[in-house]
Amino acid sequence: MSDRKITIEYNDKVVRQFMLASLIWGAVGMLVGVLIAAQLNFWQLNFDTSWLTWSRLRPLHTNAVIFALVGNMMFAGIYYSTQRLVKARMASDFLSALHFWGWQAIIVSAAVTLPFGFTRGKEYAELIWPINIAVALIWVVFAVNFFWTLARRREPSLYVAIWFYISTIITITVLYVVNHLSIPTSLTHSYPVFAGVQDGLVQWWYGHNAVAFFLTTPILGIMYYFLPKAAERPVYSYRLSVIHFWSLVFLYIWAGPHHLLNTALPGWLQNLGMTFSLMLWAPSWGGMLNGLLTLRGAWHKLRTDPVLKFFAAAVTFYGMATFEGPLLSIKSVSALGHYTDWIIGHVHAGALGWNGFMAAGMIYWMLPRLWSKPLHSVPLANLHFWIGTVGILLYVAAMWVSGITQGLMLNATTDNGTVLAYPNFLDTLNTIRPLMLMRVIGGTLYFTGWLLMAYNVWQTVRGSVTVNGTIEVFDEEPSHEEPKSMSLLGAFLNPPVLFIIFGGLFACAWMFGGNFVSIAGLVGGIICCVLAYAHYESRGKAWGDWYNRLLVNTLPFTVLTFLAIVAGGMIQIIPTVVAHNATSNEDRKQIPYTPLELAGRDLYVRDGCYLCHSQMIRTLVPDVLRYGDYSRLGESIYDHPYQWGSKRNGPDLARVGGKYPNVWHVRHMEDPRSISVGSNMPSFPWLISNQLDTSTLTTKISVQRTLGVPYPNWTPEQIAANVDKQAKAIAADLKTAGSLIAPDKEIIALVAYLQQLGHYESTPVAKPTGAP
């Protein structure tokens, strides 16, 4: 072993770049957030302009905060801490630069396309398919650079923060790819391969775990690195961090169905999502307590150190949000809170409190170290903290009260539960208006705090010189223990893993096999458990050695983490895919849209109607009283993408078809307040003037056929004739009602779509397997 020392210079340039990008894009995301919050109070702020309309800006806000603010902050933290934890410079400066500039290009293209209505129509997965491919490629660049760096590391052990980063990289890869599987119909449009309940399940498997593995696990890794550094003491319990990691990674992936409680999602999946969400309380709070207790003996520093203030508050908000999440996942609580502002409050406690404050703490900590200059103004940073905290509390408290008020009013009934107490949806809206205004004030305060930080950063950076961290290491690092290498095969060919694999196989045979196979599975499972126990008792050291070797071997560790997260996804998605067929539709089946209705549906998606209007009447009495018969699984079987929604700023539309005449919809879209006095819905005048683009309908219907929608093999001429016939009929009806609209306008297609909602084909009731 050589004792020659060498000096490693970290690539801190990319850290600085990501940090500043997070600061700038964060300001953009928050500005848009404040604007759309204000639009809900003052509809005039939509300016009757398509690209400034609430429903097009809302995806811009969410994508900017998630992928631009948190994404850039996360990359800064990962690049900074990883290099120092593994004592190695990032493997490739080129890949680091490509990652940074590629990610910024993606953000810019999202900022351009979303306001213009180019969207896939799935929350947090709105970006169109060419951008999806770019995201996947840049993510691979990041992954290659990261794992390459791990392969060149001079520190054999992997600190727990690195575990969290590994889980982030592999899980986001799986989630992103599966939820973005689509077939393009043009350069800017595609249909997801999943439909109806499948699409809903995959969407929230992705959506919930984007929260888990994009907004939580990397930030936890950052917490486990930066919090001890700022507090100048090790993490409170490394044991607890190990339990925190494995239980969180394993449990989180199962919890997605809690976004679909009381819907047409099969009951066993709802129970699965609720059970695992409740179990998440344990690891989340374990991690939160581990973070707070790391500050033991350092609490006095909070009075003066803004970094610790931000970290302590962030971890506290993490605890609050992760208490609230499982609470909202209880079916009866979800019946009250789902589709209301309560969810918005919950999300922002996490985004503003946990992510935003962790970002601020990390930026304030890294700033003097990366620019070799003290922070310009500590009092200004403290002011940022207090303004931000007051802003979050105003925002979150307003949304809690607003959400619970909405839930109580919309669910309230009289006359022994047979009549709605507040039948007019607008009664609820007018009640919560002051709270919506308070949200604007809270958001503005938080945004102001962010701008103070930007000013503080600018003043610190101005006139300073950038510095890159360095460390002296031995050319061949002497280790406290001999590195224990493990091949990929060795990760599996060992007693603990083999017993788990055989145990799982026997359990499956027991549960799903026929008579003989089932008995054999049960006997085999019992024998497997007994042998595992006996082996552990006699050769326990081998089990421990395997685990200890796993902690210093990246590839086997990554593969096992991958299996942990894939298990949760497969066990939900595969049975749902199998069950999603024409015989499992309860007693109803969707009628495929006519070409004009399909074109109208694409407009509905383009203008983000799903962001305010659900199409899912839950199995709850008030829902049925208000909107009609509860939605069946089969009624959205051909919906690519599904449109069940997640928020009701306006009423559910699942059965709006035929409820009002055509002219009602035209006037409502042109000026909602002329129909519903007091409504805060934006006007959509461009639908009246824009000409409907039918040029891609042939391709769209062809893609729908490929996806399994039973369309006839129409020629382009037949499709055009079909569109023409239905459009002229609607235009004629409108003319009779006094509204002169040409048949080739977009509004005609949208009316055709809306009037079709709630129509279905009755089918024989399928019997459960084994039913008499």
Partner: protein, 62 residues
Amino acid sequence: MFKRLILEDSAAIFTLFAFITAVTIFVAITWRALRMKTPQLTRFENLPFAPETPAARHDTDA
């Protein structure tokens, strides 16, 4: 008024199977973590505190 058919009743057992699997993994990991030796823990928890050298090269690229 409300009926929700379970058309794939065999799938219902997944909930139970998933719960048992999760609890097993949780218990196993907890047991493993509790048995970690103190020197190993000390080494792991001090990894963020590897001293950086004061010398840092300046650059002008940010």
